[in-house]
Structures are given as C-alpha cells and as structure tokens.
C-alpha cells in the first residue's frame, strides 16, 4: 500500500509489467543520479521562472476533490506539525541537561524550516514523482514532475477558462504534499535524540540535508510511491505494508540514530558523570503533544476521512494507552517504582509500534502491540543499551528503531483484510494470525531499510567528519551547546 495510492494516476498491470521489464536497476540508479544533478541545477534562482511554467508536463488530473477529506487532511497536517515543534522539541529538551535545552529545541525548530524548504524545492518530487506505469517512473527514485511545486499548485486553463487543481485521490495534491512534508520534518528530527549534547550545529544541518535527500526520499518512494518495497507494486522486491511510516519514518531514523551514536562516540563524562534529565515536566508535556499529534500522523495516513481513518485513530490510541501501562508496570515490578518518564516513554513506544499497522489492525491487536512495544522498548532502553555501552543520548534507537522494527514485524502478524480496504488487500488474507503470507515480506522490508539506512548514514557521517568535523570541541561540550553553538542560554535568572 502507498500513501498516495488512493489517488495516484494509475495504469493497468500490463503497463506496469512493461515498465518493469524495460528498466533495469542500473538504469534506474543512473536515472536517479541524473535527477539529483538536475535538481541541483534547477534550484538556481534562474530556474524559478521555469517553476511558474503554466503548462504542466504530467497528464491533467481529474478533479474529484472531496471537501470533507480535504478538511481532515489539512487538520492532520497541522497535527503532525505539532509533533515536531513543540511536541518533540519539548520531549527531547526536557531529557537533556539544562545547558543544552536550547540546542535541542533549535534542532527541532530549524529542521522544521530546513526540511520544508527542501521538500518544496525537490523532496516531494524525489519521493512521490511519477507513478507505476507512467513514462519516466522508476521504482528506485522519484522523478522531476513536482520539482519546485510544478504540477502541485492550481493553474488557470486558458482553454476552459477554469482554475484547475491537481488532486491526489480525493484531496488536492498541495495538501498531499503538505501532509507528507510534515513527515519529512519530523523524521530527521527524531535522529537528533541520538547525538544530542555533542554534535556541531553546522554539521547537523549538512547531515540532515544529505540524509533527507539520500535516505528519506528514496525510502519514501520505495514504500509509498510504488517502489521496490511497496505492497502490491509490480516493481516491488519485498512489498510490505507500512501505513504511516514504520519503515520510512521510525526504522530509518532509529537505525540512523544508532549509527550516529556509534560513529560520534559517547558524551564527555558518559557513564561516570550524572546526566539526568533536567526537566521532566517538559518531557511529559512533549509526550502528550506527540500522542495528540499522532492522531493526524496515523489517521491522516488514510488520506481521507473514511472508515480506515477512524480505525487507525482507534488503533493509535489503544496502542499508546497500552504502552503507557506496560513500561511503568515493568519498572514497578523490576525496579520498585513506576516512573513518569517510563510512562511517557511507553506511550511513545506504543505509538511508534502501531504506526505501520494502524490502518490494518483491529483494536485488540493494537492493544497487544502497544503492550509489546512498552515491554520491548523498556528492555532496549534499559538493559540492551547498558549491555552494549553505546550512548544513544535520548534513546532514539531504543524507542524508534526497536519500536519501529517491532511494529513492522507485528504488522505481518496482525494485519487483517477485515480492516484493510479491498483496494489494498485485494481480498486476500494478510497477517499470520488470519493465515496470510505477509510476515516474510514485512521482515524483509524492515531488513532492507535497516541495511540501507545504516550504510548510507555511516558513509555520510564519515564524509562529513572529514569535511567539517562531527563534534563540538571538548570545551564547547562542557560549556553546553546553548552558549557554544547559539550564544544563548535557556535559563537566565537575574
């Protein structure tokens, strides 16, 4: 299933098969590289005039915009944006020491701006450009259909005398672009949790530009735009279900976070100096905002306001609730007290885990997934991290990498055709629980995402280390990123 499937320009299976046969993977990679080069050239100011070209090259869409769907999706856009700033900004900033509170908030806020600009320039096109069967479609990377918002915004048609609005399913393509853009914002922001309190801000900016372009956009295309990991796509190698971003968002960011933590090394004093969270009240408010925004994240991924959106909303809420129970209950049993941080972390773990499955599972399996996520992520963040000794500062891997992988796998267990629309399931059995074959492709897609995200992130970090340096100086790290990177302090008491 894809996040643009509902309204993507479609073609019959014969067309898809022909496209698949005629495009070898080497040609696809070459086309992708040519596309990236083209984007760089076209991003020059002189290309702006071209962006205003009133004659779109893509086929004119049939306007079937539904105002109810449009309203829900615009609301969902706002809800997902709320997750990054202030949600994630508060959640993460409460967990760092007070000398780094602004540094973390700045990373979230800056990424909201930076990634939006990239998304508007070329990110959306690289992710969602082209549809299976269309000329120029590649299962590996998007094309230039939507560069600089071409074919996305409304245009006046001289022949008909009407303003024509490109649509994606039952919503405007502009809304689809905005909604997906919110995912492009929060995904790299999640990685910041791993290298918090020690990465140079300038290097972080460069890393996120490269990571968003070379890791997120291709993954997004693979999973949600009929690419090599898209469920039911003719070009798919391991077609897997990912409703709202188990692989695209959480595994990619979580695994990249782990690589960041390993490559960058531990914070100064890690393991022998106290580094407790400086303000858990921020973290709790941030977690609550994440929970709230996640309704748009998951239920909005239906791309309409129908029954699947309601089902995803329910599954999301149930999983978060179960996670918020499981983690503190385990703390209570094994460590004597249920902690507030454990409750907040459990809720987020439940939300992460249900994300890929939210549109495909019933409420009771959603509860089970939330409980499993609370337990597994609790183990990952407490036992696993200390066992291997890596410094994933804010447990970006422990929650998103582990929770996302668990969610992708459990989607293969619990997904059911009773919930999944016929257009996706084709009426066939899906999850292991109902006797379907989905589990294997789910595991394989997760594995591909793990390998790609890890290798790409490792290479990017090594290049940036040579070019710019990854870490702040020891003196700057001791002083804190707020002052050393931004010349400000979070708390000034006069």
């Amino acid at each position: 299933m894809t996040q643009r499937q509902a309204g993507a320009p479609s073609c019959d299976s014969a067309q898809v098969a022909t496209s698949c046969e005629s495009n070898g993977w080497r040609l696809d990679i070459a086309r992708g590289l040519r596309f990236i080069f083209t984007v760089a050239v076209l991003s020059l100011p002189g290309a702006l005039a071209w962006a205003e070209d009133p004659k779109p090259s893509a086929p004119a869409p049939v306007a079937t915009l539904d105002k109810a769907d449009q309203a829900w999706m615009l609301m969902s856009c706002a809800l997902v944006f709320l997750m990054t700033a202030p949600g994630l900004a508060l959640f993460y900033s409460g967990l760092v020491r007070k000398k780094n509170v602004l540094g973390v908030m700045m990373q979230c806020l800056m990424l909201a701006g930076l990634m939006t600009v990239l998304w508007g320039l070329y990110g959306y096109s690289l992710s969602f450009g082209g549809a299976p069967g269309e000329a120029g479609f590649s299962p590996w990377v998007g094309n230039g259909d939507f560069v600089l918002m071409r074919n996305v915004t409304s245009t006046f048609n001289e022949a008909t005398g009407l303003v024509e609005t490109p649509v994606e399913g039952s919503i405007s393509r502009l809304t689809h672009m905005l909604f997906q853009g919110m995912f492009f914002i929060i995904t790299p922001a999640l990685i910041c949790g791993a290298f918090a309190e020690r990465m140079k801000f300038s290097t972080m900016v460069a890393f996120m530009i490269l990571w968003g372009t070379l890791v997120y956009c291709p993954l997004c295309h693979w999973v949600w735009d009929g690419g090599i990991l898209a469920f039911g796509a003719a070009d798919a190698k391991f077609g897997a279900l990912d409703f709202a971003g188990g692989t695209v968002v959480h595994i990619s960011s979580g695994v990249s976070a782990l690589v960041c933590a390993l490559v960058m090394g531990k914070r100064l004093g890690f393991g022998h100096e106290p580094m407790p969270p400086h303000n858990l009240t921020y973290t709790v408010v941030g977690a609550a905002l994440l929970w709230f925004g996640w309704f748009g994240f998951n239920a909005g991924s239906a791309l309409n306001s129908g029954a699947q959106a309601a089902s995803a909303f329910c599954a999301t809420h149930f999983a978060a609730a179960a996670g918020a129970l499981a983690w503190p209950l385990l703390e209570w049993v094994f460590r004597g007290k249920p902690t507030v941080l454990g409750c907040a972390s459990g809720a987020v773990a439940g939300l992460v885990c249900i994300t890929p499955a939210s549109g495909y599972v019933a409420p009771m399996p959603a509860l089970a997934m939330g409980l499993a996520a609370g337990a597994v992520c609790f183990y990952a963040c407490t036992a696993l991290k200390s066992k291997f000794g890596y410094d994933d500062s804010l447990d970006a891997f422990g929650v998103h990498g582990v929770g996302g992988t668990l969610g992708a796998v459990l989607t293969g267990v619990f997904a059911t055709r009773n919930i999944t629309p016929e257009g996706t399931s084709g009426g066939k059995l899906l999850g292991l629980l109902e006797g379907g074959p989905l589990l294997t492709p789910q595991v394989m897609a997760a594995l591909v995402t793990w390998v790609y995200a890890a290798v790409a992130t490792f290479v990017l970090l090594k290049i940036l280390d040579v070019a710019m340096g990854l870490r702040v100086t020891q003196q700057d790290e001791v002083q804190g990123l707020d002052y050393s990177q931004h010349g400000e302090e979070g708390y000034i008491f006069i």
Partner: protein, 112 residues
C-alpha cells in the same frame, strides 16, 4: 538578639510560618537550599540509569528574635517542623551583633 536559621522540609513551611506568626515573629526570610545530613542523599532512576542525588532540596527559614524569645521560638519550630522521619532538618542559633532598618535607620531590637 539571635538569628535563628531553620532548615526544614518544603511541605512544613506553611505550618512553621503560621505558628511563628502567631508567636509574634514579625518578619522572616526564606530560601530554597540543597544539602545533606546524616542520611546523605537518595537515588533516582531515569530509564533504568540510577543517579545518586547527594544534595536534597530543603527550605531555609531565617528569623531574628530577642534573646528572651529564643527558647519558645525554637520550641515552636521544633513542634511544627517535626515528622520524626530522617530528613526533618536542623535549627541553628547564631548571635547577632546588630540589626538596621534601612527605611528609618532604626537599630537593635527596634529594627527587628
């Protein structure tokens, strides 16, 4: 004149303040302080990582009283601030050379 410094638990502040006011103490200064006594600190756990908190937060109350009021002031603080549990705090009595009211220039007990 004596200055009495009482380091008490946060939740006992209102009770102590009320009792001292009834006793006739007309002014006091309070501040947030951190420290430890015989019990040392305590441990806190965040996502499985334990931290030893050496300096426990308390409230310090400072009042200035006449020499003849010291005993009943001490008794009042003791009665109201005591829970019987470890960590109830301490009271220090300190000789005071002089007090000056800045507004009027009064000195000694008149300035208290």
């Amino acid at each position: 004149m004596k200055k009495i410094e009482a380091i008490v638990r946060h939740f006992k502040l209102e009770e102590v303040k009320h009792a001292l006011s009834e006793l006739g103490v007309r002014g006091m200064t309070i501040s947030e302080v951190r420290g430890f006594g015989r019990q040392k600190g305590h441990t806190e756990t965040y996502r499985g990582t334990e931290y030893t908190i050496d300096f426990v937060p308390k409230v310090k109350i400072e009042v200035v009283v006449r020499n003849e009021d010291v005993e009943k002031t001490l008794a009042t603080i003791l009665r109201t601030a005591q829970t019987g549990q470890i960590g109830d705090g301490k009271i220090f009595v300190i000789p005071l050379d002089e007090t000056v009211r800045i507004r009027t220039g009064e000195t000694g007990v008149d300035a208290v």
